[in-house]
């Protein structure tokens, strides 16, 4: 059997449910030595290694989900996710970003619609932990921007930064999962959660945001110039205070660089 054909077929077996491995193994009966231990049992070792290690990687990335739904249920979901979405890179800390979308669509999680947003939060935490180092803009960096060109300046958010909007109380859910509180949050009302996740040196932070701050940061993320971003934010939130916003975000080291469009 040519190498390419063998590897494609083998990959196909690895990404099937365990119940189908016995039948699939028969296609290899002429290729592998079949001795006192049958080929299907030998293939199951690989099958377990592949699906086991990849689904374990998902569980490691999503510990809050595991606390919410239990190890066995999450493992079942993770295995299904892996079979449908195997990694596209050998670097596994890039793997699993779409798990929130998978959960949103999955039939078995429809009674827990908050799971998908919890997964989004967990991916943001994971991404912040592994993000490349980038230097934050300092007060001096901002002072160096000419006042006349400030409106035309575009800011870049730190590579580790994510903005998350959700109707669910994500921080309260997290606190409950981490056993910081035993109070189960009310999931039936809209909590209008707006949070920012990012890393400062070795610390991954979560910060609740006001609606206007969230919108301003979202506009910056869309590469809008500061002038346009402020104008759009003020249109939606007339009390938005840009000076206070800027001061706060310099302290929190939210921006990595400024680009003048002049």
């Amino acid at each position: 059997m040519p190498l390419n054909e063998f590897q494609k077929d083998f990959k196909g077996i690895m990404l099937r449910p365990l119940s189908q491995v016995d039948e699939a193994a028969s296609q290899f009966k002429d290729n592998f030595v079949n001795d006192h231990i049958p080929v299907n049992e030998r293939l199951k070792i690989y099958h377990n290694n592949v699906l086991g290690s990849l689904s374990k990687n998902i569980l490691t990335t999503y510990p809050l989900l595991e606390a919410l739904v239990g190890e066995n249920f999450l493992k079942t979901l993770a295995r299904e996710f892996v079979m449908e979405n195997p990694p596209q890179s050998a670097c596994l800390h890039y793997y699993g970003e779409e798990f929130d979308i998978f959960l949103k669509k999955h039939a078995s999680t429809q009674s827990m619609p908050y799971l998908s947003d919890v997964a989004t939060l967990e991916w943001a935490l994971h991404k912040a932990y592994h993000a490349a180092d980038d230097s934050p803009m300092s007060t001096d960096d901002f002072s160096a921007i000419e006042p006349d060109s400030l409106a035309d300046t575009t800011l870049t958010l730190r590579g580790s930064l994510s903005l998350i909007a959700s109707p669910y109380p994500l921080q309260a859910i997290r606190d409950m999962c981490l056993k910081k509180t035993e109070d189960a949050p009310d999931m039936t009302i809209d909590h209008n959660t707006r949070i920012m996740v990012w890393r400062q040196k070795l610390e991954v932070n979560i910060l609740p945001l006001e609606d206007d701050e969230f919108m301003m940061l979202s506009e910056i993320k869309k590469d809008k110039s500061l002038g346009e971003a402020v104008e759009n934010t003020l249109n939606a939130y007339p009390d938005f205070d840009f000076a206070a916003f800027l001061k706060k975000n310099i302290i929190f080291e939210t921006f990595s660089k400024a680009h003048s469009n002049n």
């Binding site: 590897q7 494609k8 083998f10 990959k11 030595v33 990849l54 596209q88 890179s89 050998a90 490349a132």
Partner: protein, 297 residues
């Protein structure tokens, strides 16, 4: 295979560095802080480069530990045996780490993990035949050219055997080293596992593998899985090295000159003390061998 070109004569021989302590440890996240605080007596550390791609907190710790110890980068994701070229983005990120951390050696496995765009995160088996040899030759040469240095490749643990193998695994490893100039990372536990799983003699493997190509030795724990009246050994890296594997190691090093030896442990992490105890055991075996050699002189 007489037509195969011998590359070893065209390349600078791969000479392992001499460290005061030839025994190293696989470096894993749960031990970062303790290693930095206690600076244990260990010769060097080895990491999977894929865990440090991009940057982030892991890379910060690796940088701190690298200030105190030599480093080896042992990859699991080049997929050298895949019937496709090595992923250039993977090579780029790997090279970035090589340039930053200046490892004394770079390695991966004689196996495959990628097919098309899917990466299966396991060291999957290969038939030992001419076609596989040619594919590995191309991918190892692509890697060596990209890195501008020779690499070493590790013998895998396997759980199935191919009917169309044209040679034994050690003969295959020897040929691979010969035609690419790469070195061999001899995993003694894998040889033991392999031999049990396929009814082979591990000592014959040790006798047959080309000692001049060996740059480093790996030791790790394995797990036995019972199937009917028989069993397979699984290379789980989650236990102490088994006594039979220590015996095979002691036999192996008699044919080598104080080889660099690594203790691997990749899941169910024990306290650092346990790993240091395993490393100490390896060092004692190496020291004993040296004493016996001196006594015999």
């Amino acid at each position: 295979m007489a037509d195969l070109i011998d590359k070893t004569s065209q390349l600078i021989p791969l000479d392992p560095p001499v460290f005061d302590n030839p025994v190293g440890l696989g470096l894993r996240a749960p031990h970062y802080e303790e290693i930095l605080e206690t600076k244990p007596d260990i010769g060097w550390f080895e990491v999977h480069p894929e865990n440090y791609f991009g940057g982030g907190i892991h890379r910060h710790y690796l940088g701190k530990i690298r200030e105190h110890y030599p480093l080896s980068l042992h990859a699991v994701g080049l997929s050298l045996g895949a019937d496709q070229p090595v992923d250039t983005e993977h090579l780029r990120q790997f090279k970035e780490l090589i340039d930053i951390f200046e490892p004394f050696i770079v390695s991966d496995h004689v196996s495959w993990s990628a097919s098309g765009n899917a990466h299966l995160n396991d060291l999957l088996p290969l038939p030992y035949n001419r076609e596989t040899l040619e594919r590995l030759r191309r991918n190892i040469e692509q890697t060596q050219e990209y890195f501008g240095r020779q690499i070493i490749v590790e013998n895998p643990s396997t759980y199935i055997a191919f009917k169309d193998n044209e040679m034994s695994e050690f003969e295959f490893m020897n040929l691979l080293a010969k035609i690419t100039g790469c070195g061999i990372l001899l995993d003694v536990n894998n040889i033991y596992v392999q031999s049990h799983n396929h009814g082979l003699d591990p000592y014959e493997y040790i006798d047959g593998v080309n000692k001049n190509a060996i740059f480093e030795i790996h030791l790790a724990g394995h797990t036995e899985k019972t199937i009917g009246d028989h069993s397979l050994l699984i290379d789980t890296h989650n236990k102490e090295v088994k006594d039979d594997v220590w015996d095979l190691y002691a036999y192996t090093i008699k044919q080598l000159d104080k080889p660099l030896t690594l203790i691997e442990w990749d899941q169910d992490f024990p306290p650092l003390e346990t790993l240091l105890s395993e490393a100490s055991r390896a060092r004692k075996i190496l020291d004993l061998e040296q004493e016996e050699r001196h006594a015999a002189e």
